[in-house]
Amino acid sequence: MAHTVLSRRLMTLAVLAITLFTLFFAAAGAMAAPASLSGDIIIDGSSTVFPITEAVAEEFRMTHPDVNITIGISGTGGGFKKFLIGETDINDASRPIKDSEAEAAQAAGIEYVEIMIAYDGLSVLVNHDNDFVDYLTMEELNAIWKADSTVRTWKDVRPEWPDEVISLYGAGTDSGTFDYFTEEVNGESGSVRTDFTPSEDDNVLVLGIAGDKNALGFFGFSYYVENTDKLKVVKVDSGNGPVEPTFETIKDGTYSPLSRPLFLYVTKDALAREQVKAFVTYYLTEGKALIPQVGYVELEDALYEAELAKLN
C-alpha cells in the first residue's frame, strides 16, 4: 500500500513539474520578439545546391529562429516530382526545369518563379601526377565521352600523348551534373559512352581520380576547390584558348560552356507566405556572400537585382 501512495505522490509531482515547465516556456515564448517570423519552409532537390541552401538557412535561423526550414536531398529531378504535386515550397535545381516538368506543373495548376542563384563550374580533372594533359578542347572531350567513342588511350586523343588506357570517372546518371555535362559535351542530355565509373557521391570520384594515374573525370567545382592538392584541373578550350575554371573565369563567363547556373524554383503560393518571401529575399541579398564559402560562384550584382525583382 505504501508503494501505491508513493507512486501517486510521484505522479502528482510529475504533473506539477510538467505544468510549470509548460507555463514557463509559454511565457518565455510570448516575451520573445513579436515581429519575428514563424512557420514552415519546405525545400527539396539537388544535392549540388544543398550546401548553399543549407548555409543560407543556417544564417537565416540566427535572425528568424522560429521559422522551421527543412531541406531534403532528392536530386533535381526527384525534387521536382515532389514540387510538382505541391509537397514542397522550394526546389533546389542544378538545371533549368524540363519541358515535361513544366507541363506537369501547368496540369497540376502550380505556378512558380525561377530564380538563378549561383554558378557552378563543371571541372575536368586528371591525376596529380599526370604531367602531359594541360588542356582539352571541347572536340577532344566530345571524342572521349561521346556514346560511340573509339578513344581508348591518351594517344587516341593526341598522338604525342602516351599509349596508355584512360580510365574514365563521371557523375552518376541521376544527377543534374551528368545531364549538364552530356548536354554540353555530347550535344544531347544523357548521351554518353557506358564504360566509365559513375558515382552519385563526388567524394568517390575524387578518391578514384586521385588514386589512378590515367584517370580522367568531371564533377562540380566545389569538390575540386577542396581537393586542389590531390587533383589536377584541366583547362578547357572551346575555341577561345584554354581556360582554367576559377571563381573569376566562372563568374565572368570565360569558362564556357562548362559553367552552369544553379536555380531555386519557388511556388507562387509559397511566395505569398511571409517567411518564404523573407527567406528567398535573404538568399539573394545577405545570403549571396555565403556562396563562395561553400565552393560556388556568385552571380554579378546586377543579376541578383533582376532576380529580386521577380519576387514581386
Binding site: R61, E87, S222, V225, E226, N227
Partner: protein
C-alpha cells in the same frame, strides 16, 4: 609402430593448423573492428565536445552539431516502440496461446518470418505511398515511425513467440490448477516469465530502427532541419541521414565530423546491444 607414430603426428599437425586457422579468423574480425574504431576515434574524438551535442549542423565543420539528428532519432525510436510493441506482443500471444494449430496459423507464422527478411527500402516505398501520400501524414515523424514499426514488427513478434514458447507448460498447468483463467495465466505467469526474452527482441529491433536510413529517406527524412521537432507531425532528421549528409560534403574536415557522429551512433548501438545481452543472460538463469 613407427607408421602409427607418423600418422598421429600428422593428425596432431592438422589439429594445430585448424586451431590456428580458427584463431586467426576470429582475430581478423576483431582486428577489423578495432582498426575501424581506432580510426573513428582518432578522427572523430577532437569533435566530440559539448557543443557537438548542442549545436545544429553548420557549413563550418567546427561548429557542426548533431542535436536535431539526436532528437529526431529519439522521437522516431520512442514512437516506433509505442506503436510496434503492443501490437507485436499481442500478435505473439495470439499465435502461441490462442491460435488453433492449423494450416492458416502456419501460413501466418511463415509470412511473419519472411517479412523479417524483406529489404528495408521496400518498407520505405510502402510508407511513402500509404502513410505519407494516401493517409496524408506527410513527411512527418509519425510517417517515419509507422514505417519503422512495420519494419521491426516481425523481429519483435518472432522473438516474443520464442520467449513465450520457451515457458514450460507445467507453469501454465499450475496456474490453471489454482483456478486461474487463461487471461489471468497469461498476464500473471506467461508474460512476466517471457518478459526478458521479449525485451531482448524489442531492444534488438530498436537498435535496427536506430541504424536504418534507407526507409526513412524514402518516407521523407530531411537532410537539414532548422527547428527541433516538438510533435509527431513535425519534420525530422535522424542520425544515419546526418552521417550520410556530412559524408558527401567536399571538405575533408567534414570526414572527421562524420567520424564523430558515427562514434555516437556506434556507442548508442553497443549500449542497446549490451542491454539485450544482459537481459538474455538473466533469462537463461531463470529457467536452469
Amino acid at each position: 609402430m613407427q607408421g602409427t607414430d607418423r600418422l598421429s603426428r600428422k593428425r596432431r599437425r592438422k589439429n594445430t593448423m585448424a586451431h590456428m586457422m580458427f584463431a586467426v579468423s576470429a582475430l581478423l574480425s576483431i582486428l577489423v573492428l578495432i582498426i575501424l574504431l581506432a580510426d573513428l576515434i582518432r578522427r572523430g574524438a577532437p569533435y566530440l565536445n559539448e557543443a557537438f551535442f548542442k549545436n545544429f549542423p553548420s557549413r563550418f565543420a567546427a561548429k557542426s552539431g548533431i542535436l536535431p539528428a539526436m532528437v529526431g532519432s529519439v522521437w522516431i525510436i520512442l514512437l516506433t516502440a509505442v506503436i510496434a510493441i503492443p501490437i507485436a506482443i499481442a500478435a505473439a500471444l495470439y499465435l502461441e496461446e490462442y491460435a488453433p494449430r492449423n494450416r492458416f496459423t502456419n501460413f501466418i507464422k511463415i509470412n511473419i518470418a519472411n517479412l523479417a527478411g524483406i529489404p528495408s527500402i521496400v518498407y520505405g516505398i510502402f510508407g511513402l505511398t500509404v502513410f505519407v501520400r494516401t493517409l496524408g501524414f506527410g513527411r512527418s515523424i509519425l510517417s517515419g515511425a509507422l514505417t519503422m514499426a512495420l519494419l521491426v514488427l516481425p523481429v519483435i513478434i518472432v522473438s516474443s513467440q520464442e520467449a513465450i514458447r520457451a515457458i514450460p507448460d507445467s507453469l501454465r498447468h499450475g496456474s490453471y490448477a489454482m483456478g486461474a483463467t487463461k487471461w489471468q495465466t497469461i498476464r500473471r505467469i506467461v508474460l512476466p516469465s517471457a518478459l526478458p526474452g521479449i525485451l531482448t527482441g524489442i531492444i534488438l529491433a530498436i537498435s535496427r530502427a536506430l541504424g536504418e536510413s534507407a526507409p526513412l529517406l524514402m518516407v521523407g527524412a530531411f537532410s537539414y532541419v532548422s527547428a527541433l521537432p516538438s510533435g509527431p507531425m513535425d519534420s525530422f532528421i535522424v542520425l544515419p541521414v546526418q552521417i550520410y549528409t556530412w559524408m558527401s560534403k567536399p571538405s575533408a574536415d567534414f570526414k572527421d565530423v562524420t567520424a564523430a557522429a558515427i562514434l555516437v551512433l556506434i556507442v548508442l548501438l553497443l549500449t542497446l546491444n549490451l542491454t539485450a545481452i544482459i537481459l538474455r543472460n538473466k533469462f537463461h538463469k531463470t529457467f536452469e
